[in-house]
């Protein structure tokens, strides 16, 4: 670790206002050279806004306060000027172009000039070096669309290194990564730190922050709450959460006494082929069952086939169905399309709410009724009054924070968008709900509320399937957890017996030791 502990960056009294909203109010941030500095806060707390001020997305003059960087006051006009100063931001949604190669992506906007045009020889050579530095074993000519999300994240970092980065800002770098890729990324960050790179990291994954950060600045409602020195010790997840929510969450999960009834939904021999690659099976003879009132988890590393399993059951909306049966209440059902799935009272709340779940142009009202329009219609004619009343009911019962259901769903925070999406599927009156990554990218407080809703649904006698990449979430929420590895259901564990280690072993296909 670097010896000089002077501040490389100081943001003093930063205030940023939007029409009607004060997004940042007198925020102060001090980052020392060579440290990994985490910024924590709930969604909407102002973390991303602060980083946009720092990286010049919001230019000097659009905010008040000073930025001191490497001993002088800086006034960035745009991203380019901040990058010239060595500040590079990697956004949560990766900014890579899928159809271009790794080399082309690394040097996009930062091309290696030759005498005539771009010097691809040198670019390729430098890309190879950079890939080695970030530990990515791939040819620099590989198209970005052909590598996984974890590797894409590494390409982003290589791209930052190519720009001579001195202060690297990572916005939710591991949100889309599985445990292995996350671990690799964190190792890489440790390595870069040891070579003197300063990092600012925004993350909702508190265990990672606890593991890697040297200091933590907590922001709540656009204000700095405190800065914690992790190296001094005594900082754990609960301590961070207390700072973020301003109160201590007695538990991350609401109290719940499961009321489990009969088995009502069964899957057997479920086999599905990849939609584009013939012969590649994404589900292999999968079988599972769900009981009434039960919350069933699905654990697996990314690409194991959990989403594929869920979506192929949900009206064969993914892949090519090859075989297998579904039974509901003992009777076999055939679900050839999404509409049939909805009619059979199956709901699938997709991962990635922005691209698969919501139409961001819709109002809350339109969102809530969108999967079951006939319920608020007379024949083909929609009754907007009934739609309004229905949406209002969900706004109140799910606690969607919005002044009116006529507001755009795009204006909601992540947690409230997730609630609106949940309302959309609750409105189809499902008996079986499949929730795919229901709490990804939402803050601690909103997670707690979502967990409460899931438990409420289960207590109404519905079956709930939860797919999650966060093992603690599955362990805290589910009554039973299935593990999936390479398209196969590899095991099932009751909550009482489940441990993170046991699940990890099952979901990575490791052989079962003798008990």
């Amino acid at each position: 670790m670097s010896e000089n502990h002077h501040a490389v960056l100081e943001m003093r009294s930063i205030t940023k206002e939007f029409p009607g909203v004060r997004a940042l109010d007198d925020v102060t941030l001090e980052v020392r050279a060579g440290e990994i500095h985490a910024i924590c806060g709930e969604n909407g707390a102002g973390k991303s806004t602060l980083m946009k001020v720092l990286s010049g997305v919001y230019p000097h003059g659009s905010y008040s306060g000073d930025i001191h960087y490497q001993g002088e006051i800086v006034e960035f006009r745009d991203i380019r000027s901040s990058e010239q100063a060595g500040i590079v931001i990697i956004h949560q949604e990766l900014a890579l172009i899928p159809e271009l190669s790794i080399t082309e992506n690394i040097f996009l906007g930062n091309e290696v000039r030759g005498r005539v045009g771009i010097d691809w020889e040198t670019a390729r050579q430098r890309a190879t070096e950079l890939l080695a530095r970030v530990g990515l074993r791939a040819s620099p000519d590989t198209l970005v669309k052909n590598i996984g999300v974890g590797q894409q994240q590494l390409v982003e970092i290589a791209r930052a290194l190519a720009k001579d980065v001195r202060l690297l800002i990572l916005d939710e770098p591991t949100a889309a990564l599985n445990e292995d890729d996350s671990e690799h990324l964190l190792d890489l960050l440790r390595g870069l730190r040891s070579r003197g790179l300063t990092c600012i990291m925004i993350s909702h994954k508190l265990n990672e922050i606890e593991e890697i950060a040297d200091s933590i600045t907590i922001i709540r409602d656009g204000r700095t709450v405190e800065t914690l020195d992790v190296r001094a010790g005594g900082i754990d997840e609960d301590r961070i959460i207390r700072g973020m929510v301003g109160r201590s969450l007695a538990s991350r999960f609401p109290d719940h006494t499961p009321q489990i009834g009969e088995t009502f939904f069964e899957v057997e021999g479920w086999t599905v082929e990849h939609p584009e690659v013939p012969g590649r099976l994404v589900c292999k003879q999968s079988a599972f069952h769900v009981r009434r009132g039960e919350i069933v988890g699905f654990a697996g590393i990314m690409g194991a086939g959990r989403t594929e399993l869920a979506r192929s059951i949900f009206g064969r909306s993914y892949g090519r169905y090859l075989g297998g049966t579904l039974r509901m209440d003992g009777k076999e059902i055939v679900v050839p399309d999404v509409l049939a799935a909805i009619r059979h009272r199956i709901a699938y709340v997709s991962e990635d709410r922005k691209t698969l779940g919501l139409n961001l142009l819709d109002t809350i009202q339109q969102t809530v009724v969108s999967a079951n329009l006939p319920k608020v219609s007379n024949g083909p004619v929609i009754d907007h009054d009934r739609a309004y009343l229905a949406a209002e009911e969900y706004r109140k019962s799910l606690g969607i924070k919005a002044p009116s259901v006529r507001d755009g769903v795009a204006t909601l925070s992540g947690g409230n968008q997730q609630k609106a999406l949940l309302a959309k599927w609750m409105f189809t009156e499902p008996e079986l709900l499949i929730l795919d990554e229901p709490t990804r990218g939402i803050d601690v407080g909103a997670k707690y509320e979502i967990y409460g809703l899931v438990q409420r649904l289960a207590n109404q006698g519905k079956g709930v399937v939860v797919i999650s990449s966060e093992l603690p979430e599955l362990l805290g929420l589910c009554d039973r957890i299935y593990t999936v590895f390479e398209g196969r259901v590899t095991g099932v564990v009751d909550q009482a017996d489940a441990t993170q280690e046991e699940l990890m072993r099952l979901m990575t296909g490791a052989p079962t030791p003798a008990r």
């Binding site: 909407g44 989403t307 594929e308 399309d337 509409l339 139409n359 204006t411 992540g414 968008q417």
Partner: protein, 430 residues
């Protein structure tokens, strides 16, 4: 300002296009010394543009669904020639000719819908091909000659409603329409207040409703007078009546029916729509089919007005229709747009054309001005979206169109950047 907001329900910006239209009319009225707002000129504007506006109605649905249709001019032309020849050579009655024209629209629509929805060829390509294909078909069928159409069809394109006793000083058919429209406005205002009371939502004070009815009523009264007070035998044009009927019908479909919602859903986020049980193919097929049927209607209205069908009918109409839709507030990426907005966008272009012509401005300058107007109108719209304010055009009047409010986003929220995802739905991780 706040009272103005109350009056119009949602911020003055949303009426930008209506205000622009009124401002244009006022300007040309002064600049031409009163030539624009005369009964005969008003009738001419409607008769001379009704077919473009009919196309705009279909085009806005196509664009909301995320496609585009470049073939509408050619489809209109081929329909026109088939109907003209059938009426001339086969001896069928005029109404059978119109049914035949609609059937041609259905067949062509099925053809284009098939390629777009079931083969997956982008609408741009399918209809670019259609543009050449149907233009060629028009010239082949008609041997590149002009075929006259009978009197009844000419009525459809350029005819007027009947005169009848008693003598009111106005055309009585137009007067009747005006009275009906007025009654509809009062009725919908009453209904709106009743609804608001039933839903227990806050509603503006009574005077707002009264002023609104008074303003709209005055406009209707003036329009009635304008169209009804022309020379004897003229009225609100039949083509205009067809247009108004289609606007009411399609506005209802777009804003109040399940099918209409599905069009918006597919254009807004295809993947999410598919996972909500919407049959994307059916929606795509429907919008393409519908567009061709409306193009067939437009073609028949046009040959009626032109009294004949010719080989170059409908040239460039697609561009006029597309321009109208975008001036009317639709988004290129799909998911946004209204029927009423598009027709008003088309009227803005029509009034511009007409006014400049009356001022003696040449067609070269007119083109330049129209091009700039398109650019500025859309730039204004884009700007207002970027800054998070509601789009200028959206709902024109709440009871006419269920407009979509702009996202009015809170830029401070980490997670609230409105972005329009364009996903195939096939991507999946897990």
């Amino acid at each position: 300002m706040s009272s103005l907001k109350q009056l119009f329900g949602g911020g003055i910006r949303q009426y930008g296009m209506v205000l622009a239209l009124l401002a244009l009319l006022a300007y040309f009225q002064v600049a031409t010394g009163g030539l624009v707002l005369t009964p005969s000129n008003a009738q001419n504007i409607i008769i001379g543009n009704s077919y473009i506006l009919i196309l705009a109605i279909g085009m806005v649905l196509v664009i909301i669904a995320g496609h585009i249709d470049l073939s509408v001019g050619s489809v209109a032309a081929v329909t026109g020639i088939i109907v003209a020849i059938a009426l001339r050579d086969w001896g069928i009655p005029w109404w059978a000719g119109i049914l035949l024209g609609l059937a041609v629209g259905v067949v062509i629509g099925a053809w284009q819908g098939f390629w777009v929805a079931y083969v997956g060829i982008p609408g741009f390509i399918t209809t670019l091909a259609g543009m050449m294909l149907f233009r060629g078909l028009n010239q082949r069928i008609g041997h590149s000659s002009t075929v006259p159409v009978p009197e009844e069809l000419q009525q459809l394109g350029a005819g007027y409603l009947p005169e009848w006793a008693p003598d009111t000083g106005l055309n009585n058919s137009t007067l009747l329409l005006g009275v009906l429209a007025l009654a509809a406005v009062v009725w919908s205002e009453l209904r709106r207040r009743a609804r608001a009371a039933r839903l227990e939502v806050e509603q503006p004070p009574l005077w707002v409703a009264l002023v609104r009815v008074a303003v709209v009523g005055a406009v209707i009264a003036y329009v009635t007078y304008l169209f009804g007070s022309g020379r004897y035998g003229t009225s609100f044009p039949i083509a205009g009546l067809v247009l108004v009927a289609l606007v009411i019908l399609y506005n209802f479909i777009a804003s109040r029916t399940i099918g209409g919602r599905h069009v918006y859903a597919v254009g807004g986020n295809r993947a999410a729509a598919a996972l909500s049980g919407i049959n994307i193919r059916h929606v795509n097929f429907f919008v393409m089919m519908n567009m061709s049927i409306l193009a067939a209607v437009a073609g028949m209205v046009f040959v009626g007005r032109a009294t004949a069908s010719g080989p170059s009918d409908g040239n460039m109409w697609e561009l006029d229709a597309i321009a109208a839709v975008f001036i009317g507030g639709a988004a290129v990426s799909g998911g946004v747009g209204t029927v009423v907005g598009s027709v008003i966008g088309g009227l803005v272009m029509a009034v511009l054309n007409n006014g400049l012509q009356l001022m003696g401005v040449g067609s070269d300058t007119t083109q330049i001005i129209k091009g700039l107007v398109l650019l500025v109108a859309v730039a204004f719209d884009v700007h207002s979206k970027v800054t998070g304010r509601p789009s200028i055009i959206g709902l024109v009047f709440p009871w006419l169109g269920k407009g979509r409010k702009g996202s009015g986003g809170t830029p401070g929220a980490d997670d609230a950047q409105p972005e329009v995802p364009v996903a195939d739905g096939a991507t999946s991780r897990g």
